[in-house]
Amino acid sequence: MLSKILFKNLLKDDKGGDRMLTVLLAVLVLVPVLNLAVPESSVFHLSTYTVTLLGKYLTFALLAIALDLVWGYCGILSLGHGAFFALGGYAMGMYLMRQIGDRGVYGNAELPDFMVFLNWSELPWYWSGFDMFWFAMVMVAVVPGVLAFIFGWLAFRSRVTGVYLSIITQALTYALMLAFFRNEMGFGGNNGLTDFKDLLGFDLQSDVTRIVLFSISGLTLLLAYLLSRYIVNSKFGRVIVAIRDAEDRARFIGYNVEQYKLWIFVLSAVLAGIAGALYVPQVGIINPGEFSPLNSIELAIWVAIGGRGTLYGAVIGAILVNYAKTYFTGALPEVWLFALGGLFVFVTLFLPRGLVGVFDKRRKSSQGAQA
């Protein structure tokens, strides 16, 4: 189909991904049209609220791809990916804070409101540079990437695997949450960063900006999907799956297992950071709650429900679960957590390969990895 023509080689054996990207491309064309061109009185009009909601789902889908890369393909169950997402979000939030300038409540051109409130006289050193968009964007990738590198280097080198790794990733995100809750950290304490006005001079409240943010989220998701597909199709991808299935054997054959794990972990963290950076301007706030361990666990549930090790399964899982969440928390708020828990139990017991496993009679005896 459409995307197949565009990315023929990459999606050669990836029917599900091809369909998913085709739908994504269609949505990327339709949503702006339905929002901007169709008059509000029409039944086909899409409200800006919905657009923003969809944009948010797309950033979650990107986050889910990031987790699927490390969990589904390399067997590293990180329960701290929310931390990388939040760090990317904070980097973006800091830029947006600096953009407010003197339009804040206290009218201080230099300092964000919460710093004025705390009687700070100047910006902490680590806020410098964040008034420049390019710098903030670099930090969106660099901060999660460097943290993942250090963390992964220490963990993988000591051969921490399996459930122990999951636990220390939980500890990582929990520690960051506690740190970011503190006012003296200089990231707005438990209120976080909010009250954003504009991005590169474009008003964040306007319909057009929202549509553009939505489209960028969609395109980023598309590119990240193709990049991830490229990686898992390459020999690198086959090696990380080999590591997942028989780590010692892979080491014995001569692969530097730690090196492979480290790079896929860093890449995954960078993708999560980018997802966070796209999320923040659309929801208008970033606070330490994003670091909460619960978020990271929920993320693992999205991927498990969608289907591990397929990439598009993660996208589908993230979107479906979040749609359900939006629906249930609106209609039956008290039911949501039970529904999520029930869904997870159901999928674990009956659909070990997730929702996509049901539709996908996957490469049983005819898999075409070679020419």
């Binding site: 990686i231 390459s234 020999k235 690198f236 086959r238 090696v239 799956v241 080999a242 299935d245 028989a246 010692d248 054997r249 892979a250 014995f252 054959i253 001569g254 692969y255 530097n256 090196q259 492979y260 790079w263 490469r363 049983k364 005896s365 005819s366 898999q367 075409g368 990895a369 070679q370 020419a371």
Partner: protein
């Protein structure tokens, strides 16, 4: 890196310096030259195990064991439980260090100074008893992963198989009898096929010496026959050392059999010779 590597090479004490080995050595007329990293089999013997003793807490798993494997030979090693077969493999592959004795690959390489990876790199492949292939990968991919090539992460990302490598994989698939099923996932293979695939993965490394631990345990008779064929066909190009319990199988492949008992060689010779040896009978039959 280059400089560091060459420095490291110079510091190695298990080999003759390059310049001595290849170059203007005054006596070079009287000696053959040794290329670094190449196995010197000019005396016809590829693996020397000499007077090796290994003891665990006073128990001598290997007791002054000496064994020589010729280049291209297919050798079977038998012996009752606890005879030291596995320990011997461990010593050769660098997993266990001998207390005394020497293990050389060719004339020039001292295996007792190398770790497991280095031994594997030097050209000794070991097949463990339990097959461990990558279950989710196809036969072809399993062999590709095992291929001798640059293995760092960045190269892997951009590697595309050359036609040479491709045909090497096909060659091995033909050899192990899985040519018709290149894309079947390894988890769907039968037990015997998994064993062959694993032997194939070892072959991708082009080892000069193959150590095979109980290859036919749990195989059907047909599978056994094909394994015998496979191992016989490998001899000549590779030296194959098979540790096995199954006497029928050993009889079907071996020209030379070595019997181990209590950590040293009890008897060596053709299958008939060995079976008619009184001491061997005593050990095996207790009579």
């Amino acid at each position: 890196m280059k400089a560091l590597d060459s420095l490291r090479e110079t510091m190695r004490r298990d080999r003759v310096f390059d310049f001595v080995a290849q170059g203007e050595y005054p006596l070079s007329g009287f000696r053959h030259t040794v290329t670094q990293g190449e196995i010197d089999v000019s005396h016809g013997t590829i693996l020397y195990v000499e007077n090796v003793t290994v003891s665990f807490d006073g128990f001598k798993a290997l007791n002054d064991l000496s064994l020589y494997i010729q280049d291209g030979e297919l050798r079977c090693i038998i012996g009752p439980n606890g005879a030291g077969k596995t320990t011997m493999m461990d010593v050769i592959t660098g997993k266990t260090r001998p207390d005394t004795g020497r293990v050389h690959l060719g004339q020039s390489m001292d295996l007792t100074r190398m770790n497991e990876t280095q031994v594997a790199e030097a050209g000794v492949g070991r097949k463990f008893q339990k097959p461990t292939v990558f279950p989710e990968h196809s036969v072809f991919e399993n062999l590709e992963l095992a291929m001798k090539m640059e293995k760092n992460a960045w190269t892997s990302l951009r590697t595309i198989l050359t036609s040479e490598q491709q045909s090497r994989i096909e060659e091995v698939m033909e050899l192990i009898g899985l040519k018709d099923q290149p894309s079947i996932q390894a988890k769907f293979l039968s037990h015997g096929q998994k064993q062959w695939l694993e032997i194939g993965m070892l072959l991708m490394h082009d080892p000069r010496v193959l150590l095979v631990d109980e290859p036919v345990a749990g195989m059907t008779h047909q599978e056994m026959d094909r394994t015998a064929e496979l191992l016989t066909s490998l001899a000549g190009k590779h030296s194959v050392v098979v540790v096995e319990h199954d006497m029928d199988f050993v009889r079907s492949i071996a020209k030379t059999v070595t019997v181990l008992h209590e950590g040293s060689v009890l008897a060596e010779g053709s299958m008939d010779q060995v079976q008619n040896d009184d001491r061997v009978r005593e050990v095996y039959l207790g009579s």
